[in-house]
């Protein structure tokens, strides 16, 4: 499960550290103690920044780094679609072989396909993504993002 890509993100995380943001959330995975504090900064519906700090395993750390790399600069609705595809992949229990279309959407995040075989680790991979979804919904002040969950 430890793809080179994941290890790279773990060792050299993108956009780590807390910066200015519109909303801050704190999410915890109670079963393993992984934690993340995450801030989103929007410009209208465009994602200006996702900054974060946390502790946890390589999977949760790398996943936050990928999230940052993949979503910053996008429109929220595009980003939500990426998040949905990632969620689908993570819930696939290793049974989903990412095709080209999926790779186009997820880029580095396809490296997490192997993690989906490990139920205990899926939550680690999803932690930052769930935190981001929550923060974004709050920042937009409506249920739009929440609904598409």
């Amino acid at each position: 499960m430890y793809q080179e890509v994941i290890l790279d993100h773990y060792k050299n995380p993108h956009g780590r550290g807390l910066r200015d943001g519109d909303v801050e959330v704190h999410h915890v995975n109670p079963t393993c103690g992984d934690e993340i504090t995450l801030r989103v900064k929007l410009d209208g519906t465009s994602i200006q920044d996702i900054s974060y700090e946390g502790q946890g395993c390589s999977i949760s750390q790398a996943s936050a780094s990928v999230l940052n790399e993949l979503l910053v600069g996008r429109q929220v609705d595009e980003a939500v679609k990426v998040q949905e595809v990632f969620l689908e992949l993570m819930q696939s229990k290793g049974k989903l072989e990412p095709d080209d279309a999926m790779e186009d959407v997820l880029e580095d995040a396809v490296a997490f396909a192997g993690v989906s075989k490990y139920p205990a680790r899926v939550k680690c991979a999803l932690l930052s993504w769930m935190a981001w979804k929550d923060a974004t919904a709050q920042a937009l002040g409506d249920g739009a993002v929440r609904e598409s969950a």
Binding site: V28, P30, T31, C32, Y118, P119, A120, R121
Partner: protein
């Protein structure tokens, strides 16, 4: 010669799967096992599932990142999926593993005792059961009643072994919080009218708990069709191992109701000052669960489903019809409970003149025939019918008409012996 009855399974083929049925007792007598209402025998498929679990996968479940822990978790949770499908549960998360039906029943009683409104059972409220319950569906409610001050009420029985619902409106009232009854009586064999009881309970907003311990092994059990709130049953009576039971409960109730046993596995997060609980079913599964036993029960429902619960029910119906007919030929034998095959299961209780059931059972045993004698953990039924005890023969998918014949012959011998 034993007749061929319509609806019979190929019991000879099935019996090959059950090692214990080859047992000889008392110097070479073939075992005739007619004590299935107490516990069933186990097919090789279940024993193999147990051995395979221990020999290849054994580990503690949940939270492990090593291979065995993940495999064991998948097997344990896979068993939950199987049980959920077997009882047509809307969600797998509604299936709680307990140690036996008794724990399942006590679990509900305790949840309601500690619940907040609107579920809370307290001194202003009433609990309703029936006179034909197994002690495991009486004593938990007596304890709850003593401990909360709630009033315990019950339905009586008619002379022919059925629930007397003539006063249903007086028994189940606006004060009733819970109605708990058995789907099939383990002593009388009676199948109870679920619909009438559920309808009345719903009218007054009471919860319904169905004790399906004698139903799950023998007929199609569809918790959605029953429309109950909770359904309890036990593994060892349905080809599964000892040490495992099931409580099914409606999701929103399981969310709202408080936990019972506290400990590992049932928590979300713990500090010395306070704890929060995992969502159901884990909230109600404190400690290391009966992992191997769940896997074994999963194999048991696979076995039952492969044959088909409707076909098993038809087989038992045919055997029961035949048994009732043959037993009535025995002079002095009196059936306690419905004496026709309609609306009854395959447990048949009877008395034999004034020969005490202990003597009946012992002399039958000397001929290799295993029946149960006593009050069958339903002593109020014996009190109701003014008898100290009964002899009970109970059948299952591997029972044959020849075994019924052996029983009838055995009873002739008992009569001569004490005559």
């Amino acid at each position: 010669m034993t007749p061929q009855l319509p609806g019979l399974l190929d019991a000879e083929a099935i019996r090959k799967d059950f090692p214990v049925l080859d047992r000889l007792v008392h110097d070479g007598k073939k075992l005739v096992y007619l004590d299935n209402a107490a516990t069933s025998q186990k097919p090789r498929q279940v024993l193999d599932a147990l051995s395979e679990y221990y020999e290849r996968y054994n580990a503690n479940v949940h939270r492990g990142v090593h291979t065995l822990a993940e495999e064991a978790t998948a097997l344990y949770e896979g068993a939950r999926d199987k049980i959920a499908a077997f009882i047509n549960a809307p969600s797998r998360d509604e299936v709680i593993f307990t140690k036996n039906a008794s724990e399942s029943l006590n679990l509900v009683a305790n949840m309601l005792g500690w619940a907040d409104e609107p579920y809370r059972v307290d001194s202003d409220t009433e609990i309703v059961i029936t006179e034909m319950e197994h002690h495991s569906n009486i004593v938990p409610w007596q304890l709850l009643s003593q401990r909360t001050g709630a009033k315990l009420k019950w339905f009586g029985l008619t002379d022919d072994g059925r629930l007397d619902l003539s006063d249903i409106e007086q028994v189940i009232t606006e004060k009733t919080k819970i109605v708990s009854f058995t789907l099939v009586s383990n002593i009388l064999g009676t199948v109870n009218p679920v619909e009438a009881l559920v309808r009345r309970a719903q009218e007054v907003g009471a919860l319904v708990l169905i004790d399906a311990s004698q139903a799950a092994p023998h007929m199609v059990l569809d918790v959605q069709a029953l429309q109950a709130d909770f359904v309890a049953f036990t593994g060892h009576k349905m080809l599964g191992p000892t040490g495992i039971g099931v409580l099914w409960g409606r999701q929103e109730l399981l969310e709202d109701l408080p936990p019972f046993l506290g400990g590992g596995e049932m928590i979300e997060t713990v500090s010395m000052h306070e704890s929060t609980y995992a969502p159901a079913p884990h909230k109600f599964e404190a400690g290391t669960p009966p992992i191997a036993q769940a896997v074994g029960l999963g194999a048991a429902v696979d076995y039952l489903s492969a044959i088909g619960m409707d076909r098993i029910a038809a087989h038992e119906h045919a055997i029961t019809e035949y048994a009732l007919r043959r037993l009535k030929e025995v002079p002095g034998l009196k059936i306690i409970g419905p004496d026709t095959p309609e609306g009854r299961g395959s447990a048949i209780s009877f008395t034999l003149g004034d020969i005490h059931p202990h003597d009946v059972g012992q002399v039958l045993d000397e001929q290799g025939i295993a029946v149960r004698v006593g009050h069958h953990c339903a002593r109020p039924v014996c009190l109701r019918y003014g008898i100290p005890a009964t002899t009970r023969a109970s059948f299952y998918l591997y029972s044959t008409p020849a075994e019924v014949d052996a029983l009838v012959e055995g009873l002739e011998h008992v009569r001569n012996f004490f005559g």
